[in-house]
Assembly symmetry: C2
Homo-oligomer: 138 residues x 2
């Protein structure tokens, strides 16, 4: 898998990869940037949420679950001491739907975090990943 990241100006970069989509990255003014793009460390958390979210929604679909809304919150903790890295990452799944089976949700999360999600499998070797879920029945 290949990606290219091109410098634009100040702290702004544009990333592209095989799928052909561009992502603008920038730093906040406190780090010399103009905050006109995502911070790279935020992208890491979003990538994890998107990756696991895709697993979970496709498994719930296969299990014929009637999901009407689905949100994921990913929060990462980093100690202030250098070299900084994510040490703890919590992912929360909020599934809204009609007669959604808790067993199906639990199993979908388990399959994603335990096997399918490549981003989670990678960062799970570096940080402690915890998870929780909420089911909102409509």
């Amino acid at each position: 898998m290949k990606s290219k990241i091109k410098f634009v100006e100040n702290m702004q970069f544009v990333g592209t990869a095989d799928s052909g989509h561009a992502v603008v990255m920038d730093a906040p003014p406190s780090a010399g940037g103009n905050n006109i793009g995502s911070k790279p460390s935020e992208l890491l958390l979003m990538a994890f949420g998107g990756c696991s979210g895709m697993d979970v929604i496709s498994i719930l679909r296969k299990k014929k679950q009637d999901v009407t809304n689905f949100e994921i919150n990913v929060n990462g903790e980093t100690p202030e001491s250098h070299p900084r890295s994510f040490t703890d990452i919590h992912i929360e799944y909020i599934v809204t739907g009609r007669n959604v089976s808790e067993e199906a949700v639990k199993r979908a999360i388990e399959l994603s975090l335990g096997n399918y999600c490549m981003v989670g499998n990678t960062i799970g070797k570096a940080a402690k990943i915890t998870h929780s879920y909420k089911i909102v029945q409509e």
Copy 2:
């Protein structure tokens, strides 16, 4: 650091985080998506390139280097066997400029990968990171 990832349709998700910028994520048709956004695993590689790129450009700027163009290639290897994760990631820095000091470039990369880059520090615990650089004098 907080991020929120919201399901849109099919395999499409939109991620946002503290800095307020949205990123569209999707899967290729082979995985049930429509390829109208970055793959999460691509975002991971781009996040690494952007993170380290910001370090390197700001260090080169402090060292008064006249950089006219700067590109980074990040390639990730993943075995086909499950659970899949990135095992090897190579980052290549291509610095173009006038009288750019090789020592300055080497030192900037060393500081980024050895200490400053939070994304690199995180995924470096999971995958073997190698690097190379090219300097193009104008």
